[in-house]
């Protein structure tokens, strides 16, 4: 057990050299590496936090956009629905109007057809009545229907004299219209009766093929008709009145 002071000095030098070597090749690289890695990790964590914040902000922005789109879509849907309802109502109203118009046209057409049918029925009835009456008069009394109707009109002028005078006060001519040419006897009967009632008036006889069989007397604004058509109209009115009264009568069948 001895101390070699030269060795001691050499070992001190060796130790100091080793301190420097380890500082140069071990401690500094290791500690600096750790520090750099800590800085790197810190930076990466900060970057990750920053990226996460950006991602969260972007996510929030997208959520807001989606929400806005949902609201806009709901508004658009509501607008479209409202417009569709308005259009539907308009189409329905238009269809209803068209339907009513067609219904009205149909009713008009139906009324027109009914009127025409009624007119044809009238004419057929009148023709039948005229043919039957004329044949009956001709067979039984050797007289035409128009002559008989002329005499009947002449007889009706008496009771209506006052009314006719008031209606045709300043009239100088009376016009008697028939479907065909009136016989001489018929003309004389009408003319003599008119002369009795209105001595100052002249009588003119005319024909009108469109007119119903019978006679029509026109004096200014006054008109007295005794035709098959008026007869049938009166007959139809009577029948309608009878039908109405029968329908309204107690115990009538419903």
């Amino acid at each position: 057990m001895s101390i070699d002071w030269i060795t001691v000095a050499a070992q001190i030098v060796n130790f100091l050299v080793l301190v420097w070597l380890l500082k140069r090749f071990l401690y500094r690289p290791i500690l600096d590496g750790i520090d750099r890695r800590e800085v790197e990790i810190t930076q990466r964590m900060q970057e990750a936090a920053h990226v996460r914040e950006q991602a969260q902000a972007m996510e929030q922005a997208y959520r807001d956009k989606v929400q806005a789109l949902d609201v806009a879509q709901a508004d658009l849907t509501e607008t479209i629905r409202r417009k569709a309802e308005e259009q539907r109502d308009a189409l329905l109203a238009d269809a209803r109007r068209k339907l009513e118009k067609e219904h009205e046209t149909w009713r008009t057409h139906l009324d027109d057809e009914a009127r025409k049918y009624k007119a044809r029925l009238h004419r057929a009835g009148a023709a039948s009545l005229l043919a039957l009456t004329g044949k009956a008069l001709d067979d039984l009394a050797d007289e035409t229907l128009e002559e008989r109707m002329a005499r009947h009109l002449a007889q009706k002028l008496g009771p209506m004299a006052q009314d006719l005078r008031r209606a045709a006060a300043k009239v100088s001519e009376a016009v008697v219209t028939s479907q065909g040419p009136l016989s001489q006897a018929g003309r004389q009967a009408v003319q003599s009766e008119l002369q009795d009632v209105f001595p100052d008036i002249s009588v003119r006889f005319e024909t009108d093929e469109e007119q119903s069989p019978g006679l029509v007397l026109r004096m200014g604004g006054a008109e007295v008709a005794w035709t098959v058509e008026t007869y049938l109209e009166g007959l139809a009115s009577m029948i309608d009145a009878e039908l109405v009264s029968g329908r309204d009568a107690p115990g009538a069948e419903r």
Partner: protein, 225 residues
């Protein structure tokens, strides 16, 4: 029988005789430097550390943590000094298991050199930290009467450091040698394993004591032991 490697001259370099202590010290120095240099080259923060670098980081960080625990603060210069003591002593002692290797720490000259280094480092660190006046005042606290005792304490620290390490390592090596001659197959192995443990403990004790002595001399260091 030669107990000290100082007495064994291996060869001469430029006419200077080199004993085993210096030679094996150079071996340990070369081993530490080359290993550190190889492991720590091409360090980049973006490259994950390999297992060797991780091992070195664990060792360095463990030494740093121990010193920080003793000194109460992170002191890199203290790390360089005490850490080097630990690594040098530990590697020297661990290489004991290699046949033919004579640990330099088994030389009283080496342990004396290390103790003297600590003895000189304490005032250097103290003056650097407290200033010359501040450091010298610590010898007079709490009273100037304590001055001789403080000086004796400093000297005894160095001597105890040197003798403790030398005694442990040298005795281990000597006992292993004796047992090798008595029972060459079993006991030397057991003693070598025990020597590894003892060597590591001694390295730890030497480095920690050095750190305590130096930190106690600095401004807000620990109380001297």
């Amino acid at each position: 029988m030669t107990f000290s490697p100082d007495d064994r001259i291996l060869f001469e370099l430029w006419g200077i005789p080199l004993n085993a202590t210096i030679f094996y010290t150079w071996v340990v120095m070369a081993l530490l430097t080359i290993a550190a240099s190889l492991i720590t080259r091409n360090l980049r923060p973006d490259v994950p550390p390999n297992r060797w670098r991780t091992t070195l980081e664990v060792i360095v960080l463990a030494i740093q943590a121990q010193i920080e625990e003793v000194a109460g603060r992170r002191e890199n210069h203290l790390l360089y000094f005490a850490g080097t003591i630990f690594l040098f002593v530990a590697v020297s002692n661990l290489l004991l298991v290699i046949p033919g290797f004579e640990p330099p720490t088994a030389s009283l000259s080496t342990t004396t050199a290390l103790a003297l280094s600590v003895l000189v480092a304490v005032p250097i660190f103290g003056i650097t930290s407290r200033g010359l006046g501040g450091y010298l005042r610590t010898y007079l606290e709490p009273s100037f009467v304590m001055l001789p005792f403080k000086i004796i304490s400093e000297m005894s620290r160095a001597i105890s450091l040197a003798i403790r390490l030398y005694g442990n390592i040298m005795s281990g090596a000597v006992i292993a040698a004796i047992l090798l001659s008595v029972a060459p197959f079993f006991f030397p192995v057991v003693m070598d394993v025990l020597g590894l443990l003892t060597g590591l403990i001694q390295a730890y004790i030497f480095a920690i004591l050095a750190a305590v002595y130096i930190s106690s001399a600095t401004a807000d260091g620990a109380e001297p032991i």
